[in-house]
C-alpha cells in the first residue's frame, strides 16, 4: 500500500471451522467464516466493518488478535514496543509469532466486547478488572497500579471510588465504560471494538460513541469498529468495509461508499436501513431470501442468487477483490458499469 503509516495490514485472512460428523469425528465440510479478506488500517483511523449476522465480521476481528487461530493469511502489525533499540517501530506478522511475542503484542492490540454483562467477571471489583492487564503484564504494582486504575476510570468518565464496587452495581452504559477502561489499561495502539454499543439503549449509545471518539483523539488510537448498524458505522468510521459470507464485498472511504456504492449488496444493505425521518425517500431494495450457508456457499459470486443485476458470468466465475481507483475496492464483475442508488444526506 502507498502509505507508510499503516498500523495493521491484513492479507488473505482465512478462517475455516471444520464440521465434524460420525464416531471418528471426521471432517466432512468447512464453515468458511472468513474467506480471503484483505484490509489495512492507517494509524489513528477507524475502519468500520459491517455485515449481517454470520458474515464473519466477529471471526475476522478475533482472528486478527489471534483469540482464534486463523487458518491462513498475514496479519502485519507495526509494533512500537517490540521495536529493536534505535528503531521507532517494527513490522511483525501476528499470524506467525510465538506465544511470548504474542503476549507482548497483546499490549498493543486490545478488544472491547459487545455484551457488557457477560464480558466482566461478576466476582471481581472494578479495580481488579481494570487493573488485571497491568498485573498480567507486570506493568504496575501496589499503589502505582491503583493510581493508574483511578486515572483510567477518570478517562472513561467514571469516579475513582467506583474501584471498590462490583459490575452488577453499574448500568449497561457504565459497564461498557469499564470494558473500555480495561482495554486502555496497557496503552494499546489498536482497539478492536466488537459491536460495542449494540446492547445499549439509544440514549446511552451516543454517550459511549462520543467517549470512543474522545479517547481516539486523546490517545491517538486506531479502531477496527465491528457493527451491524450502518448509521453508527458511518458516523464513527474513516473508511468502511462491507462483508458478505466471509468476503469483503466493498471497502472505501466512508462518504465515497455511501454516495458512490459499487457493489449491489452495499446498495441493498444501505437502502434497508430504517431512517428516523418519515420523509425519507430512498427506494427500498428488497433482497430475496436469506443469506446462504457458509458451509456450501453459492458458485461464482457468493451474492449472485440474491443480486438483481446478476448475469451468467456471476454464476460461474468468482469476481476478484480489486481496486477501482482511489482505494475504492469492490468484489463485483460489473462494479465499473453499474449505476447504483446512493445515500444522500444533509449536512
Amino acid at each position: 500500500m502507498a502509505s507508510d503509516n499503516i498500523l495493521l495490514d491484513v492479507k488473505g485472512l482465512v478462517k475455516y471451522f471444520p464440521v465434524r460428523k460420525g464416531v471418528f469425528r471426521r471432517t466432512v465440510a468447512h464453515v468458511k467464516a472468513v474467506d480471503n479478506v484483505d484490509m489495512f488500517i492507517p494509524e489513528g483511523e477507524t475502519l468500520g466493518l459491517v455485515g449481517e449476522s454470520g458474515c464473519g465480521k466477529t471471526t475476522a476481528g478475533r482472528s486478527i488478535l489471534r483469540l482464534i487461530e486463523p487458518t491462513a493469511g498475514d496479519i502485519v502489525f507495526r509494533s512500537k514496543k517490540l521495536a529493536p533499540g534505535g528503531e521507532e517501530s517494527v513490522e511483525i506478522d501476528v499470524a506467525k509469532v510465538g506465544r511470548k511475542e504474542l503476549k507482548a503484542l497483546r499490549r498493543e492490540m486490545q478488544i472491547i466486547f459487545q455484551d457488557p454483562y457477560s464480558s466482566l467477571n461478576p466476582r471481581m471489583t472494578v479495580g481488579a478488572i481494570v487493573g488485571e492487564p497491568l498485573l498480567v503484564h507486570g506493568m504496575a504494582k501496589g499503589a502505582e497500579r491503583e493510581d493508574r486504575v483511578k486515572a483510567l476510570l477518570a478517562a472513561v468518565g467514571l469516579k475513582p471510588d467506583h474501584m471498590k464496587r462490583y459490575p452488577h452495581e453499574f448500568s449497561g452504559g457504565q459497564r461498557q465504560r469499564i470494558g473500555v477502561a480495561r482495554a486502555l489499561a496497557l496503552d494499546p495502539q489498536l482497539i478492536i471494538c466488537d459491536e460495542p454499543v449494540s446492547a445499549l439503549d439509544v440514549s446511552i449509545q451516543a454517550q459511549v460513541i462520543n467517549l470512543l471518539e474522545d479517547l481516539q483523539g486523546e490517545f491517538g488510537l486506531t479502531y477496527l469498529f465491528i457493527a451491524h448498524d450502518l448509521s453508527v458505522v458511518r458516523h464513527i468510521s474513516t473508511r468502511v468495509a462491507v462483508m458478505y459470507l466471509g468476503k469483503i464485498a466493498e471497502l472505501a472511504q466512508t462518504e465515497e461508499l455511501f454516495t458512490n456504492p459499487k457493489h449491489p449488496y452495499t446498495e441493498a444493505l444501505m437502502s434497508a436501513v430504517p431512517v428516523p425521518d418519515p420523509a425519507w425517500s430512498v427506494e427500498r431494495i428488497l433482497l430475496e431470501g436469506d443469506v446462504p450457508s457458509p458451509v456450501a456457499p453459492p458458485s461464482g459470486c457468493y451474492f449472485h442468487p440474491r443480486c438483481r443485476y446478476a448475469k451468467d458470468i456471476c454464476k460461474t466465475d468468482e469476481p476478484a477483490y480489486r481496486d477501482l481507483g482511489d482505494l475504492h475496492f469492490a468484489t463485483c464483475h460489473f462494479a465499473d458499469s453499474l449505476d447504483l442508488q446512493p445515500i444522500k444526506s444533509e449536512e
Binding site: Q207, V275, P278, A279, L286, L287, E347
Partner: protein, 326 residues
C-alpha cells in the same frame, strides 16, 4: 373511528423490593386500520401496556390498578379490564380479535409442534373449522406471508426455519383469525437489516389487505418513522409526547423526544458529534417525585422537581407532558 381507547391505565408490579409502577397513567387511542407506534427505551412500560391489553399480565405480582381499555367492535364497547383474563370473553378476543407477535420468534413458537399445528390451533379454536380445512387455511396463510413451498413448510418444526421465516410464520399465525388489532412487540429487533426490511414491507402489505390496526412497539426510531401513522413516546411508564408521525419527527416538543433524535446517528443527516442524553433512566424503585425526566433534562426548572406535568395539547393535534408548554 376508534378501535381501542386506553384511558388512565396503571399497571403495577408488587415485588419484594417494592412497587414498580410499570405503566403509570397512560392514555391513547388507536383508530381502525391505523398504525400506532409506541417508542421508548427498555423499562419504559411499552411492553407492559401491550400485555395489559391482551390480558397477559401475570397476576400476582402484576395488577391493573386503575384505568379502562375500551375495545370497540360491532358498535359495542367492551372494557377489557373488567373481564377475567382467563375467562370466556377474554379467551374469545385474545388471538382472535386482538393478536400479538413477539420479538424473539424462536422462544414464542413451541419447538415440539410443527408450524402448521401451531397455526391450526388458533384456527380450530376460534373459527370452528375441521382439521383438514384448518390445515388448508394454515397453508394459505403461510403463502400469504411469503413463505416458499408452504405445503412442505407447514409440516416443519420452528428450528428448521430461519429467523426471518419464523417471524413470517408468527405473523401468519397472528393474522389467521383476521384480527382487528395486531400488537407487534419489537417484531424485527432480532432480525438482520435486510430481513427486517422484508418483514416490515410484508406487515405494511398485510395491514391493507386484512384491514387491521397495528400497535407497533419498538425502540428503533427509524422503524417507527417508516411504519406508523401516529406515535407516542413513553418514558418511565408515562406518555411524554404523542402526535402524527410527521409532527413527532419534524417538530418534537418534549425534551426527551428531542434528546432521542439528537442522540442517534441517521443516514438522513450527518452530525459531527452526537448529543447524548445525560445520565441514565432512574431506578424503577426511586422514580423522581416530579417529572420523571427532570434529572436528565437540559431545560429542567424548579416546578419539574415537585410536580408531574399532565399530557396536554401544545400544538394542534400534538400532545406533550412538559412544563415548558404550560
Amino acid at each position: 373511528m376508534p378501535l381501542i381507547e386506553v384511558r388512565g391505565l396503571k399497571t403495577y408490579f408488587y415485588t419484594e423490593d417494592g412497587v414498580v409502577r410499570a405503566v403509570d397513567g397512560v392514555n391513547y387511542v388507536i383508530e381502525q386500520e391505523k398504525t400506532l407506534g409506541v417508542v421508548g427505551e427498555s423499562g419504559c412500560g411499552k411492553s407492559v401496556t401491550a400485555l395489559s391489553i391482551m390480558g397477559l399480565v401475570q397476576i400476582p405480582p402484576g395488577k391493573i390498578e386503575e384505568g379502562e381499555i375500551l375495545f370497540h367492535r360491532d358498535g359495542k364497547v367492551m372494557d377489557l379490564t373488567k373481564y377475567d383474563p382467563k375467562g370466556r370473553e377474554m379467551r374469545a378476543i385474545r388471538g382472535n380479535e386482538i393478536a400479538m407477535i413477539f420479538q424473539e420468534p424462536m422462544t414464542s413458537l413451541n419447538p415440539v409442534y410443527t408450524i402448521g399445528n401451531q397455526i391450526m390451533e388458533a384456527i380450530i379454536l376460534h373459527q370452528k373449522l375441521d382439521k383438514a380445512k384448518a390445515k388448508q387455511k394454515a397453508i394459505d396463510m403461510l403463502r400469504e406471508v411469503g413463505i416458499p413451498l408452504p405445503e412442505q413448510r407447514v409440516d416443519e418444526y420452528p428450528h428448521q426455519l430461519s429467523g426471518g421465516m419464523r417471524q413470517r410464520a408468527m405473523i401468519a399465525m397472528a393474522l389467521s383469525c383476521n384480527p382487528s388489532l395486531l400488537i407487534a412487540d419489537e417484531p424485527t429487533t432480532a432480525l438482520d437489516v435486510t430481513i427486517q426490511a422484508q418483514v416490515l414491507e410484508l406487515m405494511n402489505e398485510l395491514r391493507r389487505e386484512f384491514h387491521a390496526a397495528i400497535q407497533f412497539i419498538t425502540h428503533d426510531l427509524g422503524v417507527i418513522a417508516g411504519m406508523a401513522d401516529h406515535v407516542v413516546v413513553m418514558y418511565l411508564g408515562r406518555i411524554v409526547e404523542g402526535s402524527t408521525v410527521d409532527e413527532v419527527f419534524h417538530d418534537p416538543k418534549h425534551p426527551y423526544t428531542q434528546g432521542l433524535m439528537n442522540s442517534i446517528p441517521s443516514l438522513a443527516s450527518r452530525k459531527d458529534r452526537l448529543e447524548p442524553i445525560k445520565g441514565v433512566v432512574p431506578d424503577p424503585f426511586e422514580v423522581p417525585p416530579g417529572c420523571g425526566f427532570e434529572p436528565r433534562c437540559p431545560h429542567a426548572m424548579e416546578i419539574c422537581k415537585t410536580r408531574m406535568p399532565d399530557l396536554t395539547e401544545v400544538a394542534p393535534n400534538h400532545d406533550a407532558a412538559c412544563w415548558l408548554y404550560v
